[in-house]
């Protein structure tokens, strides 16, 4: 008898290590696949599994192999039906063996494999940690929901707790010995009986005592109320802070001619990241896309990223549009409002002042968070790197930045910057509640 070993319960993912090595190897190509997907697909689509073609570049395994186009060969094939020696058979077009080269040229194009969500995110954010760590640092909007919290001696009449009130009243009545109706009834009955009898001195005297007792009891009953204000108890409600489960994210982008493909791509990445972050945090996340040239419009995602429009650049129009939409659709009490603005920093002369005012007076009070990213040329990055100097919008926003802790601004020059910038943006912990 042979040895039997049941291996079915052994760990299954024996080749997981190989898979990881393969993904690392094909990293560049996979990254490109994911990037294409993100560019083609919607912002909200990143955060899930993706099927990607099996990468071929960098994963070839070369060996010395024969050149199919040279030399003399002999093939032995089965199933001859009509041929006899000396027959000539034209070669099928495109070279290659006469069916004898067994499927060497596999068409790899159909092969797609599924990357898990984590792998996708990892590739997308270029092997940086995901913003889980940031989560805790995020200030959160509190809205309040009343929650039962015991009883109170005061409150609104609608909140009276009858059961509790009557219990108090009963106790008090016992303690103060409030006469019961039955006692009064008994005395009244005695009085009636005596009155029916022929009047004698004894009877009269007895009637007088009874009447006096009845009177005393009735007075006592009147003095001790059945339900006294001290008995009354109200249901007590405490306002319980609850995190808002809805978030709306405003994407504001300058789409005037100065924003090229590169700028838009970078902006998109930043938006994707913010969206990802919000979806992890909130049950429901809306996205509002506002694009602007010299006038602002709310548009759908596709238009936002892919339609170009010519015109000047007036940033304040976008802020106004955002404010209008908030007023209309997103009451501050119910929504956490996030805004991300991407621009190359151009603005119509004099408009920056208006932006400051809009932000300062209106928007910053409503927003949970306002992030401004300025997309600059890579060559500029070292010039502007650390200085406060910059475009007109940058200088204007600097003023807002100083004033509002939930306003952040950064410069982005390359895709690799985005995550770090994002991290910086969310790393600070402004200890502020919703200051309305």
């Amino acid at each position: 008898m042979p040895i039997f070993i049941d291996r079915r319960l052994n760990p299954k993912d024996k080749s997981l290590g190989n898979r990881q090595r393969f993904l690392r190897r094909a990293r560049e190509e996979l990254k490109r696949s994911i990037r294409d997907k993100v560019q083609a697909g919607g912002i909200a689509e990143l955060d899930r599994e993706h099927a990607v073609p099996i990468p071929r570049k960098g994963t070839g395994e070369p060996t010395f192999g024969d050149d199919k186009e040279s030399g003399r060969r002999q093939h032995i094939l089965p199933g001859n039906r009509t041929f006899s020696s000396g027959d000539l058979i034209p070669k099928p077009g495109g070279g290659g063996g006469y069916g004898s080269a067994p499927g060497s040229a596999e068409s790899d194009d159909n092969f797609r494999f599924v990357l898990s969500r984590e792998e996708v995110l990892d590739l997308f954010f270029e092997d940086l940690e995901l913003p889980d760590l940031v989560k805790l640092n995020l200030k959160q909007v509190l809205s309040f929901k009343p929650r039962r919290a015991g009883f109170a001696a005061s409150g609104a009449p609608t909140n009276i707790n009858v059961g509790r009130t009557m219990r108090n009243s009963h106790g008090r009545r016992i303690a103060l010995r409030r006469p019961k109706q039955a006692e009064l009834d008994a005395i009244a009955r005695q009085i009636a009986e005596l009155e029916a009898k022929p009047a004698s001195a004894l009877v009269r005297e007895r009637l007088a005592t009874l009447r006096e007792a009845l009177d005393r009891l009735e007075r006592r009953r009147k003095r001790i109320a059945y339900v006294d204000p001290v008995d009354i108890r109200f249901n007590r409600f405490d306002p319980q802070p609850v995190p808002n489960v809805n978030a709306v994210m405003f994407c504001l982008m300058d789409v005037s001619g100065s924003m090229g493909e590169r700028e838009k791509d970078l902006a998109k990445r930043f938006f994707v990241l913010l969206h990802l972050f919000l979806t992890r945090r909130y049950e429901r996340t809306d996205i509002v896309f506002i694009r602007h040239t010299h006038e602002a419009k709310e548009v759908d995602e596709h238009t936002f990223f892919y339609h170009t429009e010519s015109g000047g650049t007036v940033v304040s129009t976008a802020l106004e549009e955002m404010h209008r939409i908030i007023e209309q659709r997103y009451p501050v009490a119910e929504w956490n409002i996030y805004a991300a603005q991407a621009s190359d920093g151009d603005n119509f002369a004099g408009d920056s002042e208006r932006c400051i005012e809009l932000l300062d007076r209106k928007l910053m009070r409503l927003c949970q968070y306002f992030a401004y990213v300025e997309i600059i040329d890579e060559r500029e990055s070292h010039i502007f790197g650390a200085t406060e100097n910059g475009t007109s919008l940058w200088r204007a926003y600097n003023a807002v930045d100083g004033k509002w802790p939930n306003f952040q601004m950064r410069r982005i020059a390359a895709p690799a910057d985005i995550y770090t910038v994002f991290r910086q943006l969310f790393a600070r912990q402004p200890d502020l509640r919703k200051s309305a």
């Binding site: 008898m1 080749s15 099996i54 002999q74 070669k91």
Partner: protein, 513 residues
Amino acid sequence: MVSQVRNSELLFSGSDWNFAKLARVYDEIEALGFEELGLDIYPVQMEVISSEQMLDAYSSVGMPLMYRHWSFGKRFLYNELLYRKGARGLAYELVINSNPCIVYLMEENTMALQALVTAHAALGHNHFFKNNHLFRQWTDAGGILSYLDFAKSYIARCEERHGLTAVEAILDSAHTLMEQGVFRYRRPPKLSSEQQREGLHERLEYEERSFNDLWRTLPPSGKSKPEATDETLAERKKSLKLPEENLLYFLEKNSLVLEPWQREIIRIVRIIAQYFYPQRQTQVMNEGCATFVHYTLMNMLFDRCRIGEGAMLEILRNHSNVVFQPAHDDPRYSGINPYALGLDMMQDIQRISTAPTAEDRDWFPDIAGRGDWRDTLLDAWANHRDESFVRQYLSPTLIRKWRLFMLADSADEPHYEVASIHNERGYAKIRSALAQSYDVGASRPDIQVIDVDLLGDRRLRLQHTVKNGIMLEGGSRDATLRHIRNLWGYEVSMVARDAETGAMLSERSTKEI
């Protein structure tokens, strides 16, 4: 009552299997195999695995233990996709040439299939592994598992010490040369035992510790550079044992840049390549032997009423799927099916031995009509590889049955020419050409190290011997040469020389790439 007796004689009924049934079937099949076919096998270890585990095993070249490399991950993805899409089923079994012989059974198999697989792998393949001379001489069934275990942990240790990238670079380069990493003619040295390996490592570590860079900086003693006369050239070639066909071996021993751990990794790849070399030379025989054994044994069991009719039907259905051979113009055609060819040739030997025709007596005077087909087969299984087996035993009857024909294919002609068909003039030619196509040594490019100028520019010179004008494919050749340069450390060049005329056809150096 009668049917009950019959039932109790059946080895199993129903499609569910359990370990008791497996053991009963195995014992029966083994006894039959010994008695009727004279098989001789390694002890068997049967392991039941799930389909995921089978996919895992596929991607690590069928071995239960393997070091980690991205190419296995890639292979896994391919196999998984094919399997998921239903383009390819999984094998019912996998068998490993080891002692004890490990047979994987899939849990999804029915009992009838498990019986088939037991006969096929645990007896057929097992007998072949134990008795065929290639496996006996060139592989070490007893040591392979412990060697793989060593290889896996050694490479894992290297990854820890030197980083994934460094290890991967060496493995990549070594993998490209796996085909050139076997001794085709010289017998490879035995696998060293665990003890020897320990000793080796201690020695390497001692060398690393006691390395003194000072000696390297000593000025060369003699100023006169030796002249490159024919004599010194011959001397040098002799001292390096050139020409050398095993490129991995040469690089492992003589590379100028490799660290000891890198050499050890090359050695691991080389040993694994060597281990699989006999399997590539004996596909037809190995599968033929296993198929012949399962077919014969299953029929014997059925004749003795040990297997029910339903189970036998299932077995035959699977059997005929395995040995299906579409004709060359069938869209399903993808080369000659080794299972089909092997089984047909072995059954043909049986026929020639018991009921020969006059033609058979002409072609096979040694075995025709002798009736001892068992001994003939046992002898063939022990002493042949595909090439010699076809050359010796492919009969005209079989050539007619398969309607084999030969196409001459010259790259510069717009036509194929039908050179031979299944007729009197063609038999010998078809047989010899088919045999030739199974000669792994002849059908793979012949590339050897011919010279290396250690005192000059240290260029490694390779020679590709061009047979029948078949050159190497340019892109993959350049990529492979780059890998060789990585391992050698200096420039590498390769000349292509015609095998017959000796004329130089082309030369390619890594400098030009």
